[in-house]
Amino acid sequence: MAFFLAQFLTGLANAAALFLVASGLSLIFGVTRIVNFAHGSFYMLGAFIGITLMDILPGHVGFWGAILLTGLAVGVIGALTEMIVLRPIYRAPELFQLVATFGVILVIQDLALMIWGAEDKLGPRAPGLRGVWRIFGEPVPKYDIVLIAITPFILFALWYLITKTRLGILVRAATQDREMVGALGVNQAWLFTGVFALGSALAGLGGALQLPKGGADLLMDFNIIGEVFVVVVIGGMGSLPGAFIAAVLISVLNVFGVTYLPQSTLVLMYVVMAIVLIIRPWGILGREEAAGEHGQVGSPERPIRPYGPKGIALTSAFVLALALVPLFAEQFVLTLIVDMIVFALFAASLHFILGTGGLVSFGHAAFFGGGAYAAALLVFHTGTPMELAFLFAPLAAGLLALAIGWFCIRLSGVYFAMLTLAFSQLVWSLAFQWRDVTRGDDGLVNIWPAEWLNAPAPFYYFTLILGTGGIIFLRHVIHSPFGYALRAGRDSPRQAEAMGIDVKRVQYAAFCLAGIMAGLAGGIFVFSKGSVFPTVLEIGESFDALIVVFLGGVKTLAGGVVGAGFMTGVEDWLTRLEYWRLLLGLVIISVVILMPEGIVGTLSTLWRKIRHTDEETIR
């Protein structure tokens, strides 16, 4: 019983930092409608800045003063980030801002590496709180008790700020209708910056406050972000009490998970999230997202059309050129092009549900990696011939999409995105922790293609045929009646329903198709590399695909393919440099700010402008 209580107290203490970070994310999302992926980076900065300050400032005052100063410093960094990166793109499609925040993650990762180095740092102990107190005979760290005591005050302070002050009232009003708040004389730009600064400061505080229990390392940003998203989604986006309840729930669960189910700690959290969202789709204290809210304005889309004869001729010429490459190119070029095609197919499948279906999936890697693992597992454990195992990749990914889609399709917007993320994390943690079957992070190796394909040129043609075939097939579907129904459901779900389209079912089918295609890409991938590791299922993999689609241009059909080519090429070149993340982050941020329609979108707009002026001068 005493042990049970001590465990519970540890969980509560862990909840303090988690709640701080989650409430910051929730606050930022509520007002700016931006899902700030860089929030984990602010948490990491908080930890590093905290350690540095604690080294400089002495004693009790120094320790607690350092924590407060860290909050301030990270708040300022957050404000600068908002002003430089996000302010220029508030009018761009919401999800574009996501990609920008992803760029910020990369930049901060490398900056932290430059400033603090690659070594993990152990957090200093809080002065005067080094030992333990015994509670019913069980030792509980003093610092834990202090954290538990502080948390309610933080919750109260935030609650007071949001419900009782003018700033809080403005924040809540802006959450509902930013444009109207502006029309009433409030400078939204500063309100946004202020909220972003406050949210970042909370993340920074969280990072500094957890120091005596942990430390600072360069993986903190990704490690916390998954957890924080889970907390915010379980609690309900934009709800502070919800974030508090969920932070406690997840932290306590983690502590008990470590004790009783050490093999499944990672899975547990996502299982809880999936259960909560199935019962309460908008989180414990969240509310349904009203469709068609004010404040989002965008110019209507230009309808997409199938390629005309010129387009078909160009594409054919391009594919033909690719087919001729093995005649003269070296092997590494072939490998690079195979990578590009695999990534292009993966991106095209994401683009299919994202651009055409309007379903933003944050967990598309589940199907890519799922397909790769399915084929690899068959080969590894049963020695299935490659041809059969390969076919199993899209099949298994399709079945996985059938299962995941059943839960996710019912939701929309951010909640859909989050639930797909959760499921992909679930798949990832299975691959990572179910060592008996998947060998964990040792990966599955020696997964080579069949004899007749096991040479660079044959495998190249194999990839070229399946990759371009898959992409052309997806394009074909987009221009079929099914594609029309999908687009109708994206642009106006109600209107589509009224016309007799079962929107959810169409989306479900599209989700599965996208899963199959991602699985196909995964299948090619695993046989081209000869191995597979849990990294193909990571959040980063899903994000890479998202970034590629956005870089290429969401609203254009060729976007995913062009973006994938661009990204693979740039990455191949950049990763040779030491601080490649910094550069890649800056490239992403500048593309988002300078080319809000993506590469293809911006080029075609430019092209239209040039032709348009030509026509006018002729007249």
């Binding site: 003018r166 009232i169 403005l170 809540r172 009003a173 959450t175 509902q176 209708d177 444009e179 109207m180 708040v181 502006g182 029309a183 009433l184 004389g185 409030v186 400078n187 939204q188 730009a189 004010h294 110019s299 209507p300």
Partner: protein, 233 residues
């Protein structure tokens, strides 16, 4: 006080207002009349800079507004009451008023919540109620009160009588006259000619985004063909 000169406004590619010009003088109540889709709301939004005119100018008390963000237009002393009300449904009546609060202005009447509750007694009883629990008429009063908290010198009222019970419409007319007596300048867009005549000194009629008539109600009466052509009766 307000002068709109040859503005052209668009929604995407749709040309909504073309070469629209008019004046609003200090202390008067002007009615902007026209059918559904004539461009009344767009006119109001173009003054507020919620829709940015691509050509032409909007000057208020000698200051050019085109290109300014909406919040600065509001700070110049123009209060905007949108047609679809847009009250903050999760906020209480008092909180809604707080969002609208701005410092006092020399050239405009100054409002406190107590004064507003005198004018809108229904709101007084519902101070702590959330916006979503109020009737359409109460919401309309709340949105006007909220805008008045900004102490505007010019009030833009977009179709205040729309979708409201006739009794409340009469109250609304009385309220507008009260506001005028306080020294407020008002521009009101309407489809209801009867209501407009009851409160306004002058009528501007637009159709298809162009001005068709600008004059007193007496003049309008003298030309029934204008009324028949541009207003649904």
């Amino acid at each position: 006080m307000l002068s709109v000169e040859g503005i052209h406004s668009y929604y995407g590619k749709a040309h909504i207002l073309s070469d629209l010009s008019f004046e609003v003088r200090r202390g008067e109540v002007v009615a902007l009349l026209g059918r559904n889709g004539a461009g009344k709301s767009t006119t109001m939004k173009s003054v507020m800079q919620l829709v940015r005119p691509r050509k032409g100018g909007v000057t208020f008390q000698g200051r050019e507004l085109v290109g300014e963000p909406a919040f600065r237009v509001a700070k110049c002393g123009i209060g905007y009451v949108p047609e679809d009300r847009r009250i903050f449904t999760d906020l209480t009546v008092l909180e809604n008023l707080e969002v609208g609060r701005q410092p006092a202005r020399k050239d405009a009447p100054h409002w406190t919540t107590d004064q507003l509750f005198e004018i809108f007694p229904n709101l007084d009883e519902r101070r702590a109620n959330r916006g979503k629990h109020m009737s359409g008429g109460e919401q309309q009063m709340l949105t006007i009160a909220r805008t008045l908290m900004g102490n505007p010198a010019l009030l833009l009222l977009d179709e205040p009588s729309e979708g409201i019970a006739p009794v409340i419409v009469e109250q609304m007319a009385a309220t507008i006259l009260k506001l005028k007596a306080q020294g407020l300048t008002v521009m009101i867009s309407e489809q209801n000619l009867h209501f407009a005549r009851a409160v306004a000194d002058r009528a501007i009629i637009i159709e298809g985004g162009e001005k068709k008539f600008d004059g007193s109600f007496a003049e309008l009466e003298a030309h029934p063909e204008i009324r028949d052509a541009y207003l649904s009766v």
